[in-house]
């Protein structure tokens, strides 16, 4: 590849001169292209695709291993999980899952991996080192969203047709509470302090904020955008800023990301991004937020401090999910 030092140096100069708000180090973002069976690799400083590599059939949810050496991808139509080397982009191994894995999350300790299997109402727990299934946890119909509490004690799974957030004890692997939310919950996301759990409801058009301690609903966020029909507002991806003050909610075919004040649960602003925006990821310094826009085949880049969309990067067809590696 190229000299890291020289590059970083050059970068520092560019950043200082042109874009003081931007990251001073290049990170690498990985975007799954659902229709192309590929992953686009983006240099987050140049903001361009530097490589595209082929993966298994219908890549969707993806996470990085704790040491960022592995890129772990649900290849849904192969009913398994593929692990790629984040430097060489070579397939390292495959991990088992149930049928049609969609979203996954890692325990904060780095292992195990929790996978939502939409086809058989189970969350599968996989040891990523041994590649063995530890257990399956029965949940509602069409499990999807996977939220991990910062302390790793609670996993929250959302089930799209059951319309619930299932609170699962990661020690006993049992659901200990279930909270009904609006139709078709897609994502569960804890804030960094572990004091709020955000659950997006795609068909309900709302986000429910739950107190993880007593599982009581703190509030519900509704979205209204002039000129956009109520039906087109379909919240999916949720990301919360490093200081827990601002949440970003991707609104699907409304082609916008809502910026929400986490204290008042009021929408501060809507950012226009690409079409059918679903999943999002911050750069490790939390200065940029990348959004995967399914039907416009691009990734929008949001400057987080300025709350502005600064660029759109063309990737493969039907970009689904995105993660950013700290190198």
């Amino acid at each position: 590849m190229r000299s890291k030092v020289g590059f970083a140096l050059m970068l520092g100069v560019v950043a200082a001169v042109l874009m003081p708000a931007r990251a001073a180090f290049a990170y690498i973002a990985f975007v799954t292209n659902e229709k192309d069976n590929s992953v686009s690799v983006i240099d987050t400083d140049k903001l361009e695709v530097i490589k595209t590599f082929k993966v298994g059939q219908r890549p969707r949810g993806l996470v990085l291993s704790k040491d960022a050496k592995w890129l772990i991808i649900c290849t849904s139509d192969e009913n398994l999980i593929q692990v790629y080397d984040t430097k060489t982009y070579k397939l390292v191994k495959t991990l088992p899952s149930g049928p049609d894995p969609e979203l996954l999350t890692l325990h904060p300790s780095g292992n195990p991996l929790y996978v939502a299997n939409e086809n058989d109402n189970l969350v599968t727990v996989v040891d990523i080192n041994s590649g063995k299934i530890i257990t399956d946890i029965p949940v509602g119909v069409e499990p999807e969203g996977m939220g991990m509490s910062p302390d790793g004690k609670v996993l929250v799974n959302t089930s799209e047709t059951t319309n619930m957030a299932h609170f699962i004890d990661t020690k006993t692997h049992k659901a200990f509470d279930n909270v009904l939310v609006d139709s078709r919950p897609r994502i569960a996301r804890f804030n960094h302090a572990g004091t709020q759990l955000w659950v997006s409801s795609e068909v309900g058009g709302t986000v429910t904020v739950i107190n993880p301690k007593d599982r009581k609903i703190i509030g519900k966020i509704h979205f209204e955008i002039p000129g956009i029909t109520k039906e087109a507002i379909q919240p999916v991806g949720v990301q919360i800023s490093k200081d827990d003050k601002i949440a970003f909610v991707a609104l699907g075919p409304a082609n916008r990301v809502a910026v929400v004040d986490t204290a008042t649960l009021k929408v501060m602003k809507y950012l226009l991004v690409g079409q059918r925006v679903w999943h999002m990821a911050f750069t490790p310094d939390y200065k940029l937020l990348l959004t995967a826009n399914g039907t416009s085949n691009d990734v929008s880049v949001i400057d987080v401090p300025r709350l502005k969309v600064i660029k759109s990067i063309t990737v493969g067809r039907y970009p689904w999910g995105v993660v950013v590696a700290p190198f």
Partner: protein
């Protein structure tokens, strides 16, 4: 097509088997490793079958604090039971032309069964349990009598796939009882209009909705001149009427109307195409200039003869060729793939519109029970008819009931035999409250008096 589908589903089944085998192996290992193993080992057999197939005997998940002594609570926490009756009037109808269209014996019923399984998976967490009682009967009076018996025994919810007159008679017989009929079979507009009943709701789209959905797409395509061909059956005339209404509403013109007098007999003979190949071109000859032939043949008794055989090279739409329907076995939008897979795994065939309509009906009941946390008729029906009610039906938007006639508003698929072509409402057809109400009879057009407005 059918063969391909079957092959795909058995392939899927194999994957499943392998996964399960791995799981079973795993289970042998786990007891040694994990602390919670004994409990796990007992519960894991449930994994062997899709979760929904599990008997409701499985313990409902409860709070962490309670989970230690659930066994003590088992008798105290009996689940609320919500029985559902499915009434199907067996009718003697000629078989459709295509081998692919032959009705499976569990048509519609399988959709209700899947919804009850889905409901029971959620019910485990809500301590609610759903049952399905299927009554199949040819004699309408006997069918109604059996349904009344169920209602008198305490059942409240009836999924109905019956002839329009049977539906009305059933509704009138049950008028003073706590019973809601969910019509998932009959598309007749009169059941939503002048003959509407207060305790009847409809998950089946009306003919007007189907025709409007098709018309919007044809208009979007700028195929404005239609050649209408209708069959001899009463329901063909009704569908043709809906097409005429849609043409008027959205600005298409019917330039020619012809009746296809078809004497239904055996649906096939050895050979058979030779005569059709001559018959259809001559039947469609000398029509004024038109963009699309629209056919009204709800029984699929001759419509499928039309594509590729018309005198002029024109597309065919209506009940054959490009059709508007509530569901399609190849739709994968909005998470539909998982839904299709779940159905295929259970019923060993593709999901058809009638299955989908029945699924919606039984899921409505589930949704009402979960949201109200009740199995009481009044609570549940009040919720279904309230603005709070919303059902996710794999159509990208929430589905709800129109408060002027009890019709479920929903997007309608416009599809070719193998793939989806579009989804209506089409862009540009606007409405002051929801674009879904551009399909079918809107509030200002309603003739329904039984629904208070």
């Amino acid at each position: 097509m059918a063969a391909g589908v079957r092959a795909a589903s058995s392939h899927h089944g194999r994957n499943f088997a392998t996964a399960r085998f791995g799981l079973a192996l795993m289970m042998l290992v786990t007891p040694v490793v994990a602390g919670a193993a004994p409990a796990l080992a007992q519960e894991t057999p449930a994994v062997e079958k899709p979760a929904a197939a599990k008997p409701a005997a499985e313990k409902p998940a409860t709070g962490a604090a309670e989970s230690a002594d659930t066994s003590a609570n088992d008798t105290a926490k009996k689940p609320l039971v919500i029985p559902i009756v499915l009434a199907r009037q067996l009718r003697d109808e000629p078989l459709p032309l295509s081998l692919l269209d032959l009705p499976p014996p569990d048509l519609g019923i399988a959709g209700a069964e899947l919804a009850v399984k889905d409901n029971n998976t959620t019910g485990k967490f809500m301590n609610e349990k759903f049952t399905l009682d299927v009554i199949k009967e040819a004699n309408p009076d006997k069918l109604i009598k059996d349904v009344v018996q169920k209602v008198d025994a305490g059942d409240h919810f009836i999924l109905a796939d019956v002839a329009p007159d049977t539906l009305l008679k059933m509704a009138d017989t049950l008028a003073n009882k706590d019973a809601l009929i969910i019509n998932y079979g009959a598309p007749d507009d009169r059941l939503r209009q002048e003959d509407c009943r207060a305790d009847v709701v409809h998950t089946a789209p009306s003919r007007a909705m189907l025709a409007d959905a098709l018309a919007q797409y044809l208009i979007w395509k700028k195929w404005n001149k239609w050649f209408l061909v209708l069959g001899p059956q009463e329901k063909d005339k009704l569908y043709a009427d809906a097409l005429k209404r849609a043409a008027k509403r959205f600005g298409a013109k019917i330039v020619e109307e012809r009746k296809f007098d078809y004497k239904p007999g055996s649906r096939r003979a050895d050979g058979g195409y030779e005569q059709v190949q001559k018959q259809i071109p001559s039947f469609t000859q000398s029509a004024p200039d038109y963009d699309v032939l629209v056919v009204a043949d709800e029984g699929n008794l001759f419509g499928d003869y039309l594509p590729y055989r018309t005198w002029d090279p024109r597309p065919v739409a209506g009940t054959a060729g490009l059709v508007a329907e509530s569901w399609h076995p190849a739709i994968e939008l909005w998470g539909g793939t998982q839904f299709q897979n779940r159905f295929k795994l259970m019923a060993d065939r593709n999901m058809r519109p009638l299955d989908y309509n029945a699924w919606l009906g039984a899921r409505m009941i589930g949704e009402a029970a979960f949201r109200t946390k009740s199995n009481k008729y009044k609570d549940m029906v009040a919720f279904m008819k309230s603005p709070k009610f919303e059902l996710a039906g794999f159509k990208g938007v929430g589905l709800s009931l129109r408060d002027w006639d009890g019709q479920m508003r929903q997007p309608v698929l416009v599809a070719a035999p193998k793939l989806l072509v579009s989804v209506s409402p089409q862009p540009g057809f606007l409405h002051q409250s929801t674009v879904l109400d551009t399909l079918g009879f809107d509030k200002p057009e309603t003739k329904c008096k039984a629904y208070k407005q």
